[in-house]
Amino acid sequence: MGSEKALEEQFQACIDADSRIEPRDWMPEGYRKTLIRQIAQHAHSEIIGMQPEGNWITRAPTLRRKCILVAKVQDEAGHGLYLYSAAETLGADRDDLLDMLHTGRQKYSTIFNYPTTCWADVAAIGWLVDGAAIMNQVPLTRCSYGPYARAMTRVCKEESFHQRQGYESMTALANGTPRQREMAQRALDRWWWPALMMFGPSDSESPNSAQSMAWGIKRFSNDELRQRFVDATVPQAHHIGLEVPDPALRHDGEHWISGEIDWAEFYAVMRGDGPCNRERIATRVQAHDEGAWVRTAAAAYAAKQTARKAAAA
């Protein structure tokens, strides 16, 4: 085995050549830890994200919408599973990661700390939140770490369906009764800024961005991705007759330029002061705790079966 310096050079050369790092490769401890945290928080976001929409499954306004929502929430659970698996290839343990989520040591996307108080919120989440998530996730399909990149490829395929359904639902509302139109506009008013904040603060405020870029974990800056999202989404809003809640929004000939983001709200919500922070975690913890007897029973049965087979052999 070569010296650590030689290994580090080989590792960096692999990344610079746009090749992939796989689980058994040598990697700097910082790379491993950064990835575990990022992948785990991505997984946590998927499973916490099941809640704001999951709340509307039993109340969906048509059977078709109910089925679409069930499929979407099911997909999100599946995405969480792909991502926890990817994190485990780095030596993390799913139970430990869940414990860190439950005790607040690891975070999830702040967007899911907002309540869904009406059906249009469900449509807005599909359109805006999944839209923003896709902007983040497509570059990650080329992330340097193989298992994460591959998980992202799977996730992106499924998520584009979610975003289309969200926009379709929003379109139906915008073209519907006056009350539905108003519901749609109010939802856009509520979710627009939180969606922009999903991309995170400007990279000048993000201390880890530079290292993540050097390691091939991050491909584009937060601001670049946010700009892409705004450019794609503003025309979509206008197409269905909705107004983006940004009085300063203007087109400069090439791009849609947003007004200033109120980062105070972002940091408050991240700290735990958002409307639903405690509720989201409490729901998660309750499901986990109430299900413990089931998981224990499954393990006990497996052990019994193994013992029976051994005895019969």
């Binding site: 499973i47 099941m50 809640q51 999951g54 499954i57 039993t58 109340r59 969906a60 306004p61 048509t62 059977l63 078709r64 919408r65 109910k66 089925c67 069930v70 499929a71 929430v73 099911q74 659970a77 599946g78 969480g80 599973l81 926890y84 059906w119 639902s169 139906a172 509302l173 519907g176 009764t177 009350r179 539905q180 729901t283 998660r284 309750q286 499901a287 109430e290 299900g291 413990a292 007897w293 089931v294 998981r295 224990t296 029973a297 499954a298 006990a300 049965y301 019994k304």
Partner: protein, 256 residues
């Protein structure tokens, strides 16, 4: 696929019973979203819910065609009042804990695998086509229920007690699935319906095999509640409907 039956009120009522069973059970299972013991179970239970809701949509559409009153899947699901629903009591029962949900799923799926096989030979060819697809789905549902019945029944003392308790709670509602009333009699003569009395021994064999392997006792109950087929539902059903129907009813005539 258009039915050769035309407007047929008896057939419509029968298909509506099947539809309501699928719809309400789908609704109950979807309550488990985000609350299951593990992410894998969120996926599995929602999978089953999605199958049932899909079956419900096909059956409701077929029932509305047979009825010939211009209603559709959504007007049937969201605009009927409680007494107009004809779902069995078993599917309305609250989910309870995972043990009770699995116990109920075992009993219902064991019924469905035999029911859909029989209905795949129905002289109502639309119903037969729906049944043929539903056979595969219920086989999968039964498989899931069986896996978990074994693990809970033969897992720990706590899991055994919980699923036995769940089984005891839902067992009294089973007999209603096998009732043969005048409507069923008429449709049996026409080859449209499945014979519940023929299904009973098949169901019993499927269920007792699983319970025996899971070291669970077959409950011994004399109480036989009924009434779902004639719109006399459990107290909780009204609340389920209120939750399910509220948004749709709040916006009459709207499309979503």
């Amino acid at each position: 696929m258009t039915s050769s039956l035309g407007v047929d009120l008896d057939a419509s009522r029968y298909v509506l019973r099947l539809a309501d069973d699928a719809l309400i059970l789908g609704q109950r299972l979807s309550e488990w979203a985000v609350s299951s013991p593990a992410l894998e179970e969120d996926v599995a239970l929602l999978n089953i819910a999605l199958d049932l809701l899909g079956q419900a949509r096909h059956l409701l559409t077929h029932a509305s065609e047979l009825e010939g009153r211009g209603r559709d899947e959504d007007s049937l699901a969201f605009l009927r009042d409680e007494p107009e629903f004809s779902c069995a009591l078993l599917v309305q029962v609250d989910n309870g804990d995972f043990g009770k949900t699995i116990a109920r799923q075992l009993l219902v799926s064991a019924f469905h695998v035999h029911l859909w096989r029989a209905l795949a030979r129905s002289t109502d060819e639309v119903l037969a086509a729906i049944a043929a697809k539903a056979v595969k789905e219920s086989d999968y549902h039964l498989d899931h229920a069986r896996h978990w019945t074994l693990r809970l029944g033969d897992g720990t003392n706590e899991s055994h007690a919980r699923i036995q308790s769940g089984l005891d709670a839902v067992w009294p509602y089973v007999h209603e699935l096998f009732e043969r009333d005048d409507l069923v009699e008429r449709l049996l003569e026409r080859g449209i319906a499945a014979d519940p009395e023929a299904l009973l021994p098949l169901w019993r064999q499927t269920v007792t095999e699983v319970l025996s392997e899971a070291t669970l006792d077959v409950p011994d109950v004399s109480w036989r509640p009924t009434g779902g087929r004639s719109g006399q539902h459990l107290t909780g059903f009204g609340y389920l409907l209120a939750e399910m129907q509220h948004l749709h009813r709040s916006h009459p005539g709207a499309t979503w």
